[in-house]
Amino acid sequence: GESVGLHLPTLSVQEGDNSIINCAYSNSASDYFIWYKQESGKGPQFIIDIRSNMDKRQGQRVTVLLNKTVKHLSLQIAATQPGDSAVYFCAETLFSGSARQLTFGSGTQLTVLP
């Protein structure tokens, strides 16, 4: 079918190293952000979220950093494992009228090398 959007950027890291995946979001009014992980052949899976009144949030082996000044979001994965190999999408959302819409970023393909 006709392709929409851009091909995904890629990031390769050694097993055990830390990974940093970056995302630039588009709307300065967005107030909620989510990182999703999508493994091959599967639907996206929630990893971690952050609201705009925070600049950092930590989960299990993952940390999300939010810089509203430059509209930048990052996902840090500690001690990267082979199971972390996947495509990672950031998503932003804002309240628009009576509804919210979630807008996904272009995604990054993470490959963990043995």
Binding site: F46, A99, G105
Partner: protein
Amino acid sequence: EADIYQTPRYLVIGTGKKITLECSQTMGHDKMYWYQQDPGMELHLIHYSYGVNSTEKGDLSSESTVSRIRTEHFPLTLESARPSHTSQYLCASSDDFYNEQFFGPGTRLTVL
């Protein structure tokens, strides 16, 4: 794992056929969504629903239509499939627009 299901997982069909992609969730979520994703590409929202009898078009124009007669069911229909419809279609749901969306496994559609 999230309780959201899509059938079929894979579908190969000829041009001109009418197809319906099924999506069901057992979480009682009001909000449901359909996304289109080409291999190695980003997700694009094509339809969403606030609840029963409510449907809206998303950011990406699509020739498909949706219906929401029951809370748990959000089917997507293509009246006349064409090769340009070849893609992966992902269904998702959430209990609020402000919360995470749970995704189904997707339907990979190929139109010959």
